[in-house]
């Protein structure tokens, strides 16, 4: 589904990704781990189409189609979803209105009419229940005054509503207590099926106890330096990243 081939990327002339290749198939969960500043979030941003990041070399395709020239919204229409590490606060736009607008904009891009109001309400209710989101929460301004956990839960709620083909969860576990983590992970697992794929970016193995990856990749200094199974995450948890560095030398 997702093919990343030898991608180099920079921001403000600083090289961050230095030749990343990654292949993700439908039905798979990939975890990307690595120390701070290794390029994990840059990889997420460059897949989602953030303009500040410049792809200097390489190719990113979804189902064989090159997406590197597409705008962020066009990538969303192709089924790419990024759960933000730091979701943006937008006063004056309610969660409900935001998600309605997003759904209908995605439908518009596919040549579909707006989703009927009753269907929308039903879906919102269903997905809010899945993530144990209080109804009152939905009428609040987007992310304004939300706790860290509420913000992340809201991200996964949006994912549930938009049903992306490829979901990238950028540090979704940061700021979550164990109960919220379970709710969020449970939500992701229920949304997971043979046709979609998930990339989980995380520092810690903890989340991977709940969202079990098929593959684990380690990024260091802008490159994937090691790939393995879930076992690799345990090793990293136990031994840190230094042993990989040593291996590389």
């Amino acid at each position: 589904m997702l093919q990343i081939k030898d991608v180099y990327a920079s921001v403000e002339d600083k090289d961050i990704l230095k030749g990343i290749s990654l292949s993700v198939n439908a039905g798979e969960v990939h975890a990307i781990m690595g120390p701070n500043g290794a390029g994990k979030s840059t990889l997420a941003s460059i897949i989602a189409g953030k303009e500040e990041f410049e792809l200097t070399k390489g190719e990113i395709t979804i189902d064989g189609e090159d997406i590197t020239e597409l705008d962020a919204e066009e990538r969303a229409h192709k089924g790419v979803f990024l759960s933000f590490q730091y979701p943006v606060e937008i006063p004056g736009v309610s969660v409900t209105n935001f998600i309605k607008t997003a759904i209908n904009e995605n439908r518009k891009a596919k040549g579909l009419e707006d989703m009927p109001a009753s269907e929308m309400l039903k879906k919102i209710k269903e997905k809010a229940d899945l993530l144990e989101i209080d109804r009152k929460f939905l009428s609040r301004s987007l992310n304004v005054g939300f706790s860290g956990g509420e913000k992340k839960r809201n991200e996964i709620f949006q994912m549930a509503m938009l049903e992306p083909k490829l979901a990238i969860l950028d540090e979704t576990d940061s700021g979550l207590d164990i109960d919220a983590l379970k709710v969020v992970a449970n939500g992701v697992n229920k949304l997971k099926n043979k046709d979609n794929a998930v990339i989980v970016i995380t520092h810690y193995q903890r989340l991977l106890d709940y969202i079990v990856p098929d593959f684990v990749h380690v990024i260091m200094d802008g490159k994937i330096v090691k790939s393995g199974t879930k076992q690799l995450a345990y090793e990293l948890e136990e031994k840190g990243y230094d042993w990989i560095k040593e291996e590389l030398v």
């Binding site: 705008d71 919204e73 979803f81 209105n97 607008t101 904009e105 891009a109 949006q158 938009l162």
Partner: protein, 437 residues
Amino acid sequence: MNLKEKLQSSYLAFEDHLQADSPLHDVRTKAMKSFEDKGFPSKKEEAWKYTSLNALLSKDYSIFPKNETAIEFNDVKKYFLNDIDTYKVVFIDGVYSSFLSQITHDVIDVCLMSSALNKSKYSSIIETYFNKAANTDSLSCLNTAFAKEGAYIRIPKNKEAKKPIEIINFATGTEAATMLQPRNLIIVEQNAHVQIIERHQSLNNNPVLTNSVTEIFLEKRANVDYYKIQNDTQNASLIDSTFIQQQRESICSVHTFSFGGKLTRNNLSFKQLGERCDSILNGVTMIEDKQHVDHNTLVHHIAENCESHQDYKGIFDDSATGVFNGKVYVEKQAQKLDAFQKNNNILISNKATINAKPQLEIFADDVKCSHGCTIGQLDPDAMFYLRSRGIADKEARALLIYAFANTVLESVKIPELKERINKLIANKMGVNLGFDL
């Protein structure tokens, strides 16, 4: 002959028609004299530093329309609030249109300034109120000298206008250039309540210069909601001066929606004469091209325990320019005051300009006054967030701008009007989004 000279000679002709023994004769003569002495304001004056009238004054305006022009209701229907029933006071090129209006004398007076000025039964009211709140600045004086027509509204004690009142001034543009000077007088007595919507609308692209003056008097515990919709054509300019006097415990809110016009200057002045008054000044300015909107507000706090709240949002695209000059003046005896002023601006393009000048002048020592002013751009992180959810660039922009203006929009108390304004914003942004926030 320049415009000032033309106005002087027009005034002589105009005055000839008026009764010399009218009590207004002296008021007009004095006002005209004052205008002649001061002339049109220039950029040398502090209050006009960022707004130049020069380009407007060079046009050869027709001061009084030569012919009465009829317009079809269907052609102008869209300018009315059609979803609800309203009183309507409608003028075409400054002349009352009974055909388009719906006035009343049943309990409340929703009628014409010309009646109030000329009929003897109103003479004591005119004597008490006319020109008693207006400033003596040159443009207000000019309007006073030429005051002839406009809306006259009086809501008696303990009464309520059951429907909103629309005051609409159409300019047909049948003359090459037209100058209009509507004059409104609104008296809301003790415990009375009214909602008013005011609009100036040109029907073609010929230049129009409107110099409008409105005086509003609120007696004890009166309540006024006033909405100004400024969404005019590219060659229409408006100098709108509104003077409000509040007696104790009255509440007056004025919303100004400035969405279009060549040049718009809003002079909005509140005077709080009694205790526990509340004055609310809200505005959304959203302009593009080379349009210019200047908000010049003054809240004059004279009595104790009063409040004032100002919230002005500005969104400027292309080479549009904006001015916010907001002054809160607190007299020594106006203790226990709560005055708040906020002015936030977004510059969409690099060529857009906003000149913001908040001013507090405080002579009392036990007051709470604050003001805040921001100028910025649309947050790129917020844009990326919306776009990453599949919301296209234009729609994402519209959503953020709508959200930015929302604190003002949500305070509109007439739902149909709010919906209308939402649609105006969506149209301006070229999007088809329902902002049911």
